[in-house]
Amino acid sequence: MRNLLAFISRYQFLFLFLIFLVISFVLLYNNNYYQRSKVVSSTGRITGRLNQIYENFTGYLDLKKSNEDLAAENARLRSILRIKTKTIPDSLVTLESGLTIHYISAKVISNSTQQRNNYFMLDKGWRSGIKKDMGVVTPDGVVGIVIDVSENYSSGISVLHKDTRISGRIKKNNQLVNVSWDGVNYRLGDISHIPTFVNLVPGDTILTSGNSQIFPEGLMIGTVEYVEDEMENLFKKGKVRFSIDYNRITYVYVVENTSREEILRLKMSTPNE
């Protein structure tokens, strides 16, 4: 026993190092965004508050651009409203292929673009009706997915994350593609494993497919920058220029799809899905 204690005290530096390293790795492994919520929910209150203070200071710098964007969007919504008032009395609810989609507006209080895996934080939480796995969009494109919600804040993974795959389709021929990000340039996304017979040229528009039930269908993702061969002409791959500049997103909409749970349940019960 004494020998053991002497052994431990002799190598206490090494033991303590290993203990800390193990704790770190446990945190890191649980960091896949399905089990992570507890860590961030408890710290989110503090980090959310600090980020909000920072945003309150720096938010002024972007005010002009934000105002222009909001004004442009108002104008666009007004024109849609005029067309739809007769058919749909509630302007907040749009019916897209029979699904009911609500939008909750929120402000981005922290955001990054230069990490390999980027996250953002919003100034609204479950009090405002935000739940995990909801999509986050702007009128011009896709922002990310909510992974964690506290009372007044929520955080999400950006499109600029190694685990994000957005199901998209090519506008002109409705072929499905997956958009991901390789971590180099935050303006360019990746598309790969596209069969060679699919007609795809630079300049083509990629929209959301709506298959994941996270994002509404037909929202802009970006335009194809260039296309090249992959795996000895078996497939094609290419780069997509994102339609929004992730570095300057300020106001966003969180997408609530009330039919999502029902669709997921149905998918679960269908074999071979």
């Binding site: 303590l16 390293l21 945190l27 890191l28 922290s110 673009t113 230069q114 190694k162 971590g183 180099v184």
Partner: protein, 171 residues
């Protein structure tokens, strides 16, 4: 000793804030991502016990992690840095005439000594950090490039901070 402790806590807070709200906001490209907060661990006193060295490094890493939504990543890299620190100090050649609670800095240790010490430790820290971040081998070369670029950049910023704030002799 109490004054030293206050100084270290002050450095902890200032460097953590600088990292989160200044260096993490640098927007040049996906490659540029200096981790200047490691200066806190580099500047802990020579005579600090292993327990406090590791504990401080772990708490610093974890603080950065919580703001970056990456629990464990910076903590692991920082703990590895702290673990290697005594060995690297011995390797670079510890000065024999150090007073208790003296800490590594440009003024006392000299430019060459401090630069060697910084570059080696920052390299190890960044190596583990960026490979933990991607966690896949398909981006091996790209990540290695990122390690080298940021080791150079972080070391440069640390040296600048040293010359700006720590090169003056205390009165």
């Amino acid at each position: 000793m109490n004054k030293r402790l206050v100084g270290n806590i002050f450095r902890f807070i200032v460097l953590a804030f600088a990292q989160i709200y200044i260096f993490n906001k640098i927007q040049v490209s996906g490659y540029i991502n200096p981790q200047v907060y490691v200066l806190f661990i580099l500047m802990l006193p020579f005579e600090i016990s292993g327990f406090w060295l590791l504990t401080f490094a772990f708490s610093m890493g974890l603080t950065i992690d919580f703001f970056q939504h990456t629990p464990g990543m910076h903590a692991a890299a920082s703990v590895i840095l702290a673990f290697l620190r005594p060995g690297i100090i011995r390797l670079v050649g510890k000065k024999d005439d150090v007073e208790p609670w003296q800490y590594p800095n440009v003024r006392d240790a000299g430019t060459l000594w401090f630069m060697t010490y910084t570059v080696i430790l920052v390299f190890f820290h960044h190596f583990f950090l960026f490979y933990l971040e991607v966690f896949r081998f398909s981006e091996f070369i790209q990540t290695l490039l990122k390690v080298f670029i940021n080791t150079a950049l972080t070391s440069l910023i640390i040296m600048l901070i040293q010359f700006l704030f720590f090169s003056r002799r205390p009165d």
